[in-house]
Amino acid sequence: MSEVISQQTLSQLVDQWISQGKRVAGPTRVKPDVLLYEFLTAADQLLLNGFIRPANTIKELIFPRTEKLYGYRLEGKQIELYDVEPPATEQIVVGARPCDAAAFPTLDYVFNWDYKDPFYRRLRDLTTIVTLACRDHDEHCFCTSVKLAPDDEGGSDAMLFDLGDGNYEVRCLTDKGKALFAGATQSSDKVGKAGPGPEPSIDLDKVKQFLDTNFESPQWQSLSLRCVGCGACAYTCPTCHCFDIVDEGNAAGGARVRNWDACQFSMFTMHASGHNPRSDKSQRQRQRIMHKFQIYPDKFGEILCTGCGNCTRNCPVSLGVKPVLEAIQEIATTETIETK
């Protein structure tokens, strides 16, 4: 037995949430050739099918690209700090991909170890995530290689399965999810099924082994050679979470703000002295891969990658995680053969 919802009821539900003043986001076409997760003003903007995944991620709902940490007012020698009004609006994402949602249980670790990040937690609590199990994948998808699946439930409060007949099976996974769909679904004997997902192509153990023993490998140079050094991969990654803290304001007052930052920028680690521990883009590319597949797993036990493939899709030179891992795997294999 399952619970199903028709496309029509789902749309009504979305409109209802919007009219209740909730912020509802989902995949939508902002231009003929640009598909992004955006806040919706009406259910008919929501697109669930006919594409692999949006070019951005839902990370932004919980870890905004720019966020005020607090404000300050200056008057003569007097300074007053004040908290920025915390967001109180409930947020709902509809039609997120499981590879978007799966990032949050992983990100919970870094935002909550020792010092708890109140901004992340607040938005995390306010957000309900309804994912849609993937039926299709493209050549950049590799969720199955990082131990996820097209219907991975991590981070989802509810998951939809397209039944192909204008109906969706709804699986409520948390209380938040249940509350959202309470009374809106009907019992049915139809059970949804996700697509098979991409064939796993990366042996993570092999990759980890390479990373553990090849910090100083000349291969990093060739692996990063075509990288142009932008932040498109990091900013469209569901799990990249590095940030910068800057002041925005003038002599009278302003705010301290945190903005997304990316390890691929040379300024990221530049010391005041002018020394830069990662002055080379090979060092920066290494940091990105190490952080995801060695440092984070060693520290928190989770891989910092959901295999969504956004980094490669958005990369101006089609680099990103998957091609690098595949190359590492190939190098690792060749080297093993050679040493034998």
Binding site: T66, K68, E248, N250, A255
Partner: protein, 145 residues
């Protein structure tokens, strides 16, 4: 509308040290009154007037920006104003495409002897800006979300 409520525009004037600034000075010594809406920022030469400064002025709440320097041929540094002129020509095209109100950006040549012209220009663009009203559109851009 009472005088108190009348819109008083903020006008930023980037002027060169050698001509327009002295022109403004002359207006002062000759007691030629001009509106107090203008805030004069002195730079060495119009060639130094980085277009970022124009954007910055709008960011900081200017309703109109004036850039003014030496007449062609009079540049203290020989050619600063010629270079500036070229850049403005290109810059105007860009701002126009971005939908920035071109009636809020003015360029003039005012020499050290033209105190009266300075007075006239400032009076005119102040009046003009009063008609246009506050530059709400750019303030909307700069309202940090």
């Amino acid at each position: 509308m009472s005088d108190n409520n009348e819109f008083e525009p903020k006008i930023i004037a980037y002027v060169c040290n050698w001509c327009t600034y002295l022109g403004a000075d002359l207006a002062g010594t000759n007691r030629l009154e001009y509106p107090t809406n203008v805030r004069i920022i002195r730079l060495p030469c119009t060639g130094r007037i980085d277009f970022n400064l124009i954007v910055k002025a709008f960011e900081m709440g200017a309703d109109t920006v004036l850039v003014s320097g030496c007449h062609p041929g009079d540049c203290h540094y020989t050619s600063g104003n010629y270079h500036a002129r070229r850049r403005w020509m290109l810059f105007r095209g860009l701002l126009d495409t971005m939908g920035i109100d071109m009636e809020r950006i003015h360029f003039t040549w005012i020499s050290a002897a033209e105190g009266a012209k300075f007075q006239k220009v400032i009076t005119e663009i102040t009046e003009k800006t009063k008609q246009l009203g506050p530059y709400e559109a750019y303030r909307k851009v700069c309202k940090v979300s």
